[in-house]
Homo-oligomer: 462 residues x 2
């Protein structure tokens, strides 16, 4: 069997999978400022109606438009790869597969949703998309998609990444986008935070506030906002990852998967790979499904399950999710894409249902795993991806200790070629681990009304 | 037919192709300081004997060791891709294919030879490899290969690239290599040049001198030098590119290729793709085969065919090649990999034989082509690769004007994710074209005894 398992274009999945159709308990609805569930029309200033329909849909399968597939073919179907060199190094009986999302033009899984989002906006008559970006993966993915589809693109980039990754900004410019550091002076939200904390490294929450503010204040009404994670329609678009992986595992002769692993910041990469397996688990399959987060931003492992805002300035609807509080600003770890206070409601609901086993890793352990990866498999992974690799290595070692031939699948969410400053810091011994102090956790989550998971699961109500 | 044409591992070429076996006139031999042909033993302080055997071999096919293939499988067989989006944009009847060498861990074709070179050195009992690098592609490829195979690695990186591309240096460090800027204070050659020109951007010629000096002065004799281009064994290893491409074109249903294009600095990427097609041309096929170089370093289009040193400090044997003179330092264009005064003797001999049609392009035209590529195909190419794309676009437009369904194949030698400062300079209008002034050409080539090509072709002698 080849190391790289390729699907033909004709075998690409033609429908996205919607986990909302199969969750044992329905998703808790987003709430408006009045605490009442919001209707789809309330999202209309921010998103086009065709995407809002996907956002609230509980249909199990949703067609992928042919024109979207035509664009995705530039890099999809993406390869499934067997990590034979890592297996050998670890002397593990486990068979380790990874879905390689680093082969897209921007180098991550992000364009899987950037392309359909840009396409649906274009269909709806929109002229410009605005977004935020953490590590820069999402911003460059949206820039790429807008360039191909023919939309203007504006990106608010979290200050710390803007400074650490000048090349990401240039990448967006190559694809014709306008990229500014957040907090910026262009919005009320940005100006307010700069006045309070002029040296803030920024955060996804702040950048989201800026992007939404600039979107809804377009007098022509031809601007919409695009979000790279968290929302249901984003998870939906990413399921192409796991749907392809299932077909490829079959080609590789695997009947079962024992462990599925993905790093999770807002949840889209993890959801994309895992949701098609979560449905198997709902139907009785014995699979351990693990979203991995940083210890410095332990949303799923330590945050309460609660209603909270998606952004810092409290402009989004309230979402039912694990959260560290919307005013929490994570430590400046190098995995910028994992620095988010909340988590996709679909992922959170699956945790409530007991379908997932989240785990947190400190960044030095992840960089150690990344170096092991570079030494064995040869490739240089993104700092976010290193979290999945660290967990994979732990599971592969456990399989060795147990003497079990487990099948492990993880998502190789992106390459790290533009994130080498983190490697530099690690190799020169300058990297610190951040454990979120208990008092900070209490402080930031105190205003939240967290609610008993068991109750929420039983009633599906707040 | 899919856009991406994949070969199975079992169909990977198992032998390299040696053009030296088929050239109508034998290669002119390298000469020693006394002007007489050197024997293989004179190269022994610099290269291991098993590679020297390949260097002087005229055997047509040379086996690729299984252990080398085992390493290459990390990214090989590399995809052949059809540039359907560019074709559509250009409204050309031409079918454009490109061999995607950007999928290797270091992001270019360079590891195709770095891996066998490191492997043969290891077999020969060598402990450490030293090399130079221009754009950083070769240095990182050798670092990668040495890491996988278990050798120490030292890289002298041309100063201008060292400064422009800090991430390339970090990449080498991730793979355990030691990378220093050249000219450096570590060698006599470096110190001499720094004394004369403290602000020199450096050049491949200087860096080669430093690497060779440090190699031959290892008292333990366990160090060898590795060259990323120019030499016959390097061209040999790269032919896996063209051999794979031939099989893939067949899978795509193509019976003939009309035009083969590759950028050429030292010649290895171009040779790798084209040599298996050059042999078809020798046997009567009607193929236009084009090595593309920058106008600022017009070795093949304006340099005399002559014996010259491969490096600035005159430490290498004299090679019969097109050259701008070993003391020529090319302008600081962003395509660092194309800044070399000479050219692979095998490529040069093929030009003398009338088998190739070299062409020079200015860098702004190449960056324009790179932006067109990013807008259509979506990927960001290396500045070197943009030269091949610029020529491909010209040929595709010509095919449109002539109304001919030509098949064009070019080598996508690497991605440009770590070369974005050049894009920045171009997009902000700061990029200049350099045309080599005639008086400079005369000055640098005056000491060379160039010799009539017709005579050389007839007699095979100096």
């Amino acid at each position: 069997m080849d190391i790289k398992i390729h699907l033909k274009e004709k075998d690409i999945p033609r429908k996205w999978y919607n986990l909302a159709a199969d969750l044992p308990t329905p998703l808790l609805p987003p709430l408006g400022p009045d605490g009442k569930p919001i209707g789809p029309e309330m999202l209309a200033p921010v998103f086009p109606m065709n995407l809002i329909e996907q956002e609230v849909s509980t249909k199990r399968w949703i067609d992928i438009p042919e024109e979207v597939l035509d664009i995705l073919y530039r890099w999809r179907p993406a390869p499934l790869r067997r990590a034979v060199y890592l297996e050998k190094f670890l002397k593990t009986p486990a068979r380790i597969y990874y879905k390689d999302e680093s082969t897209s033009p921007p180098g991550s899984h992000k364009p899987n949703t950037a392309v359909p989002q840009a396409w649906y906006n274009k269909q709806f008559g929109i002229k410009r998309l605005i977004t935020e970006t953490g590590a820069g993966q999402w911003g460059s993915a949206l820039a790429f998609a807008c360039q191909i589809i023919g939309l203007e693109c504006k990106v608010f980039m979290v200050r710390i990444s803007f400074d650490q990754k000048p090349f990401r900004k240039l990448m967006m410019q190559v694809w014709g986008a306008n990229c500014v550091a957040s907090p910026s002076n262009e919005t009320n939200a940005g100006r307010k935070i700069l006045a309070e904390m002029p040296n803030t490294p920024g955060s996804l929450g702040i950048a989201i506030s800026e992007a939404i503010e600039q979107t809804v204040t377009d007098p022509a009404g031809k601007t919409r906002y695009a979000l790279g994670s968290v929302l249901n329609h984003v998870m939906l678009h990413q399921t192409i990852i796991g749907l392809e992986a299932k077909k490829q595992l079959k080609l590789a002769g695997e009947k079962n998967v024992d462990i599925v692993i993905g790093c999770a910041g807002g949840g889209s990469n993890f959801a994309g790979l895992s949701f098609p397996f979560v449905t198997d688990k709902i139907n009785g399959a014995n699979i351990k499904i693990m979203p991995i987060e940083p210890t410095s931003c332990p949303t799923m492992t330590r945050g309460p399950f609660s209603y909270d805002f998606g952004d810092t300035a409290c402009t989004t609807p309230l979402l039912a999710m694990y959260t560290l509080g919307h005013s929490f600003i994570p430590a400046p770890i190098h995995a910028g894409g994992l620095r988010y206070h909340g988590m996709a409601p679909l992922v959170c609901q699956a945790i409530v249902e007991g379908l997932l086993e989240p785990k947190a890793y400190p960044q030095t352990k992840c960089y150690q795993a990344a170096l092991t990866w570079a030494k064995t498999e040869g490739f240089i992974c993104a700092p976010e991806t290193s979290h999945a690799i660290a967990a994979t290595i732990d599971e592969a070692i456990k399989a060795r200790e147990e003497g079990k031939e487990k099948v492990i699948l993880f998502s190789y969410s992106g390459h790290g070629l533009m994130d080498l400053s983190g490697y530099d810091a690690f190799m020169s011994g300058k990297l610190t681990d951040y454990e979120l102090p208990e008092e900070d956790l209490k402080k930031f989550t105190a205003p939240l009304k967290s609610f008993p998971k068991a109750e929420a699961k039983k009633t599906g109500k707040w």
